[in-house]
Symmetry: C4
Subunit: 233 residues, 4 copies
């Protein structure tokens, strides 16, 4: 019985395929209420149905954790802390909070419900080649991320101390640095003094190199993938 449940949730058979399709549709449906400002009985009932299914799915996955993780009874303790289980749990949790309608700050928690969309990755195969590239180059991409974060913090520190009249808090300076490094540049925050602009110029020019790094790493990984791992042999 549990074996059949497991194969339904994780297998490749026809029933599992249909289960995946229904879940995908439910995930998309559950995101609908987030796209409207008000609330209507229809949207609310969609939400409650979806969450009930997700809770059942979560419990079913937990109940078959030993077949997935493969470490006997210990699996039931390990499973809730695997990345996918955490995402599943976070996508259900906001509803428990939503029962307590008085708190306005709950709106921020609704953010986690958006994570439901990432569940789609579990049910699609077209992204597996790209995921493989990210997986293989994970270490290099993490190093670039560290470098980028360090670079952002240094830029933010520099601009924050040079132009305190433009940037009220350090957070503002970090926001400016990220928006500049990624070359988005909304224009809501920008330096106005000459020293600040000089820092912005150096920051932007070096930012081109920092942005070129993930591009280079991903391209190299792509080529590696295309050649069937010929480079790493």
């Amino acid at each position: 019985m549990r074996e059949r449940l497991y194969s339904l949730l994780n297998g490749d058979g026809r029933a599992a395929m249909w289960y995946g399709r229904v879940m995908t549709a439910l995930i998309v449906a559950s995101l609908l209420p987030l796209c409207f400002k008000g609330s209507s009985p229809v949207l609310e009932s969609i939400e409650y149905v979806c969450v009930l299914v997700f809770i059942a799915d979560y419990l079913a996955r937990w109940a078959t954790a030993d077949l997935k993780v493969g470490k006997g009874g210990l699996s039931f303790l390990i499973y809730p802390f695997t990345p996918m289980a955490i995402i599943d749990l976070l996508s259900i949790l906001p509803v428990f909070n939503a029962l307590n309608d008085a708190l306005r700050t709950l709106r921020v928690l609704r953010l986690f419900r958006a994570l439901r969309a990432f569940k789609l990755i579990r049910y699609s195969k077209s992204t597996s080649a790209i995921a493989a590239v990210f997986e293989k180059q994970r270490e290099a991409l993490l190093a670039v991320l560290c470098l980028a974060i360090g670079y952002i913090l240094v830029s933010a520190l520099a601009i924050f101390n040079v132009e305190p009249e433009t940037f009220n808090t350090f957070f503002d300076a970090v926001y400016w640095a990220v928006v500049s490094l990624t070359t988005v540049g909304y224009g809501d925050l920008y330096p106005s003094s000459d020293v600040g602009r000089t820092i912005a110029m150096i920051s932007s020019l070096m930012g081109v190199a920092v942005v070129a790094l993930p591009s280079g790493i991903i391209t190299a990984g792509m080529l590696d993938e295309l050649r069937g791992g010929g480079i790493s042999d």
Copy 2:
């Protein structure tokens, strides 16, 4: 007779080459009236001449569909649904609508006439190498497009629920997400709260990786093309 018409439309001979050049000139000419706000007799007559020629071209291509598609009588039914035929038809259609001058909403339909420019692709050879790269990597690029759209929707959902005061509708949030992911960043819409800015930062940083993907795929395809397909062998 139909064979000669077919070779004129699709062949490599001298007459076909000149027919292509005249059509290219007419397509460019037919776009001229779209570049001016008002309307003058000269622009209108240019438009009517061009459209008449395009209708003749469309009918001639349809009449020789069996030679192109090569499935006998069935070809005449299949041809109007091939991508190129649909573009051809859409580039003629707005004129029929234009006869009914009263409707102001027709202005949106004029947009389809801009598709005429894509007809140029049919008559140029310089873009064939680039088209080959896109063709070969079509699946990977489609997967990236799906990933990017999913990513945009998640970003839009997150920002829309965190900052409802900035984004009036979900469409506004999607527009913001696209403008941020592609790093255009006009600055007409941007988050103003700290939570919203945090989402914008995470979104922008991950966006760099998403934008690096098509770049990597196209570069890998370019190298493949340069080497004469040596990778895929």
Copy 3:
């Protein structure tokens, strides 16, 4: 005598090297007056000295054109139409116009003087490897440029006809399309209607692919260059 002049202008000897350095310094000096709004006697005298040297350089190069082009007497007719000679001439011309101080529109012509800086390319060697990549991939880059220009014109046509209230002239729409495609996005012009924003979104997303093309072509060329032309063999 003319042979020695030729080797001074184009050779690799010590005198030629020093001549190159002095010319580089003069080019940089001649750009100084362009960096200030007003005019001072010092800046004006710098300008006149530089232009006199440039005229002498231009005439000397013309007088030794047969040794450079190598087509006998015909060389003197061909030389003024070679790209480098045209740049040299354009960098001298504005001064003749400057004698006629009354015309305000001359300010636009001063723009051509900025071309003097490109003369620096003639005297540097560090850019030759990069130039080789551009040279080899010239055809592909030209095809991309054509594609990008076509794409810009189509985007501009679409937005101009959908949002005539935002874009006064077709030129405005082209400017918007370029600023969006290159992801600069100043924010001085942006669509405000829903249809316009949809066009902006499609345009930006496809723009990512268009911008990825030169990146891919240049990277492929770089690799080719690094391997000593191994790909093209």
Copy 4:
């Protein structure tokens, strides 16, 4: 004794590892006071402790310079001019200035303290692969930087002379050129005349190629690194 000090500062042993970790923590701690506008006794004492440790670290490194540089007594003269020693010194210096609290312009000097963060590079290993790519391609990246700077100056010259009403000083024009070339585009400065916009368009389009160059160079270097230097053999 000096040998043991040297191995503590530069070695691979357990003590050296812990010294590195403590220094990293101190560097991060020393950056904290820069993230707040006001000043508190806690932040000030953190700062003084950190600087005292950094001065001790600087002197200890100087005292063991002969073991590092390996040129006998001359090493003590060479060491203070090595890049890392200059960064170390600059990260201490502002404090000496800070003793003189009256000067407001000291705020600019605090900028150098941000350089402390770069010290982190000395103690991390994850960035070494990326550093190797930058090291190998240093010449090509420098050539691109020269090209980019030349390109920025030419763009700035052109726009400054065409639109003097928008750009007050040449510095403004350079700032605009950098923000445009790197495609940040804040929108605080942009051309408003048709000629200025034409220059902005040409500048942006060519900028795409200039920005693609470092990307291409870094990708080629990445591939080289992945293959274990197979290209350069």
